[in-house]
Symmetry: C2
């Protein structure tokens, strides 16, 4: 199969770029002396996760119980479900545990901690739970200094559950774009999580794991004293948001959308593509960044960006490619009907999610079809 034979739109993985991204992150983690637990929510693809494991990753992070089930079936056992657990989801977690999965749960409140422990006691099971710490105020978690941190820790230390550690995710790193700011946030993320761990230990509670991470802070961290593992997801493909954050170049982007020109509005300088928002996702993550790419950066099939053009608009199955400056009224001659292009996405996690399969292309141009799952 060649690029010309793939029906469009399609999600294309550039394997050499992906392998380079995996190697770069793993080497950085090895250098910092910490384990690395990739977040597989980005790809939801077994072949991608295997490449991460083969490079040295230890365990995986998932965002849904379906991911946990699918990856466990595919031979991954050390799985962290990194979304706050609630009572209604415990039966699925129990089934995974009983099937032999080394599943870890997280909690950031006493109700959930109690519910997990109670359910564990009821079913004669001990759930390993990590406490979610809020080190940057962007989402969930207990602040490192909060009194209730210890209460939650104690609730997880009375049978039915076992306090395994603490974790944090400085997701506000996506809003930064200088190395110094990223390094400062990485240090804030590290220090806050380590502080929470120390408080728990000081209260006589176990806290083996100190898990931190986001793609930008992982790559920006200068030391990780007290941290045992790092988590990151989108680094495996990178995307235009990460390019704007400053942690990769456009030439590192390993996921793109293969598309075909299906028409034009020549007077407006538009080429109409068969990649609309269903193919790209509705993610406009670059809209508030220094470089707004619209719905994506068009490239020729060899990966060279069409400088000065963007996917300016998107309907469900139509994308509008246009010049970012004056209308290109020669666009129908420049990109005739049938022309194939690649579009680099704003957000690889969101774009990948639109596809049942990836088309993964080796350096020699050989293409494999890799399944991707979705749903919960």
């Amino acid at each position: 199969m060649t690029l010309d034979q793939i029906e469009t739109p399609a999600a294309l993985i550039d394997r050499p770029r992906m392998m380079r991204n995996i190697e770069r992150m793993q080497t950085h983690m090895d250098g910092l002396g910490v384990a690395f637990r990739p977040h597989v929510k980005t790809s939801k693809c077994v072949q991608v996760a295997r490449a991460q494991r083969d490079a040295g990753a230890r365990g995986i992070t998932v965002s849904t119980l379906k991911e946990a089930e699918q990856f466990f079936t595919a031979g991954f056992s050390d799985i962290l479900y990194a979304v706050g657990m609630v009572a209604s989801k415990l039966p699925r977690a129990l089934a995974l545990k009983r099937a032999g999965c080394d599943l870890k749960l997280i909690a950031d409140n006493l109700e959930s901690a109690n519910a997990i422990a109670e359910f564990g006691r009821l079913h004669g099971e001990t759930f390993e739970v990590w406490i979610e710490i809020d080190t940057d105020g962007h989402r969930s978690g207990v602040k490192p200094g909060e009194a209730r941190l210890i209460d939650i820790g104690r609730a997880l230390n009375q049978g039915g559950a076992r306090l395994g550690g603490v974790l944090t995710h400085a997701g506000s790193s996506y809003e930064l774009n200088t190395p110094d700011a990223l390094a400062a946030l990485a240090e804030q993320e590290r220090a806050g999580c380590v502080h929470a761990a120390e408080r728990l230990r000081h209260a006589g509670l176990p806290c083996d794991v100190v898990s931190v991470g986001s793609t930008p802070t992982a790559l920006a961290a200068r030391h990780l004293e007290g941290v045992t593992e790092v988590r990151a997801g989108v680094y495996v493909f990178f995307d235009l948001v990460m390019r704007n954050v400053g942690v990769c170049d456009t030439a590192d982007l390993a996921l793109s959308v293969l598309t075909t020109v299906i028409g034009h509005q020549a007077d407006k300088g538009w080429a109409i593509l068969d990649a609309g928002w269903m193919a790209m996702s509705r993610d406009r993550g670059t809209a508030k960044q220094t470089h707004d790419y619209g719905y994506g950066q068009p490239c020729t099939l060899d990966g060279a960006p069409l400088e000065g053009y963007a996917l300016a608009g998107a309907n469900q199955e139509h994308g509008i490619l246009a010049s970012t400056g004056q209308p290109d009224t020669d666009i129908a001659a420049r990109l005739p009907v049938g022309t194939r292009l690649l579009i680099l996405p704003n957000h690889a996690c969101a774009t990948g999610a639109q596809y049942p399969v990836y088309h993964a292309r080796s350096g020699e141009g050989r293409i494999e079809v890799w399944e991707r799952f979705y749903g919960w």
Copy 2:
């Protein structure tokens, strides 16, 4: 199965509302004396399309060849593929035709029209093709008065293809919000498409079908003289964008996302939900409208909107529910961990696309699982 037993997040269809929406549109079309061809890209669900057909719809509109294949397999034969055809997709169209599908294609340029006709002649097949007309400048299509309209019509009248009609979609209707503006655009859509048909007929070309439509213009049209059929999609569920356009009320919205409160940031007045952008989609269609709903309007399980609250933020699997005014620091007491809510989406087509199944709930509360497909 009851609402309490469905794992969250889940896409819930309120069947009485859906049936009311279907009935309302079909009655309006019957009154205007035109056939109605629903766009099934909104649901991608056989049960929904069957309900539309049972109410009187004639044929369906699809946005991908996969939809055509899936609905043909499910017993739908009169199918319009309403995205501009290109040469690389013709083998799939041929396979559908040969299997007995009454498939119609569209084209808005000479290259595509010639490619279809040539491919048809090569394979001894005659493809019915409709010419796409641009009546509002928002996307694809030939303008009604353009000279090349006739050239395209002639290219489709020389064997291998057969000119079946013209179609247009006034998608700019989504940007309007008054009955008069919508009625004016409906008339512009009608008049432009009828004019194109007349020009083709005047040139001696056949043009049986005159197909127009978008949900807002379909509902706003006061007469449809010269039109033979109307297409619309999102009306089947409606959504917050359509509510802002003014063609439905919040109480008409038939698709919502069932979600669970998984935590809080009480000092900020946040409830954290397990419905993030993966569950809602990244669609922020109401951002530029009169009422910005964030990522959606939270409701209690009986469908009553939580007035003054919105899904203010979304990460992949986390939604942030917050007051739209002062922070509600009592939110943890008001919506404790484990509370189930419904979130009305900005854009039903985008939100539904995130789910492998719908949970369809009857007026008596009986829940059926309806499959939904995706991909291309």
